[in-house]
């Protein structure tokens, strides 16, 4: 896999990405993260919580997908009122991005899956 720092740097430069993280799939702990873009001064940093819960959610989605005999989930997107959380599995880690509502989600998806694919090779 490309250096994890390079992965988060690539993902964090996609327009609309607020934060990009590489997170341990089993423990939900942040392995590598970009800076938080556009966060309000003094506001609580959401990255640690998002990383842990997104990795947890992805593990549940994987089990649901498996139960439905659909195989490994390729891409998970959680749409919320003020943006999206995108997750892609990449072996022992998951890639997590926090994205604004107006971001180019197709580009986010493509770049995240490319990064994950690079990890498999």
């Amino acid at each position: 896999m490309k250096a994890l720092g390079q992965v988060v740097a690539t993902l964090s430069h996609i327009p609309g990405v607020i934060a990009a993280m590489v997170v341990g799939a089993s423990d939900g702990l942040i392995v590598e993260t970009s800076a938080l873009m556009g966060g309000a001064v003094g506001a609580a940093d959401p990255r640690k919580h998002t990383a842990a819960l997104a990795a947890y959610l992805y593990s549940k989605v994987t089990r649901a997908s498996d139960a439905a005999r659909l195989g490994t989930p390729a891409f998970m997107r959680l749409e919320a009122e003020k943006g999206h959380i995108c997750v892609v599995g990449a072996r022992d880690v998951v890639l997590v991005t926090i994205v604004t509502p107006d971001a180019n989600l197709g580009r986010v998806r493509l770049d995240m899956m490319n990064a994950a694919r690079a990890n498999h090779e």
Binding site: D27, K48, A52, L53, A55, Y56, S59
Partner: protein, 160 residues
């Protein structure tokens, strides 16, 4: 999942929330001396006492180890077993130090446990442990019942 059983009522609500949010299998909140404050996931009081004794010892060892290796006590400890994992960390309520030890499996993760434990710590900080009543004592035929219990367990004096 069974409800927490608590020796001190003030801790019931935050302990229940931690148990549910972090999806812990079992856990014990205790004073560093090894006295249990509340627990969930155990049905045998003797097991809880053993966990408390060991947690108290681990805390003392880890604190000293942290001091010698890092110049200050370790903040938390985590051990990943084959199926289950143990998380141990300190908290405080009303200036009184407390220890928590919890067990989780693949239904949770260290990251999830950490974030909900942080919320648990914040919740405890606003609470106050109950004061033990000085001089409080059981009443009734205490001496008589005590002697009967001791006879039953250890045999009458002079007849081992």
């Amino acid at each position: 999942m069974s409800d927490p059983t608590v020796a001190e009522a003030w801790v019931a609500a935050p302990l229940r929330r931690l148990m549910e949010d972090a999806r812990l299998i079992s856990g014990v909140l205790l004073y560093p001396t090894g006295r249990a404050v509340g627990q969930f996931g155990f049905s045998n009081a003797a097991d809880v006492m053993s966990i408390c004794a060991l947690t108290s010892a681990i805390n003392a060892s880890a604190r000293e180890l942290g001091r010698q290796l890092d110049g200050k006590p370790f903040y938390e400890m985590h051990h990943a077993g084959a199926d289950r994992q143990v998380f141990m960390a300190r908290a405080a309520a009303g200036g009184q130090e407390l220890l928590f030890v919890g067990v989780f499996d693949r239904e949770s993760s260290l990251g999830v446990v950490e974030i909900y434990f942080a919320e648990f710590q914040k919740a405890l900080e606003t609470l106050r442990p109950e004061k033990q009543v000085a001089g409080a004592r059981p009443s009734g035929d205490f001496e008589g019942e005590l002697n009967r219990s001791l006879d039953a367990l250890f045999g009458p004096i002079g007849k081992p």
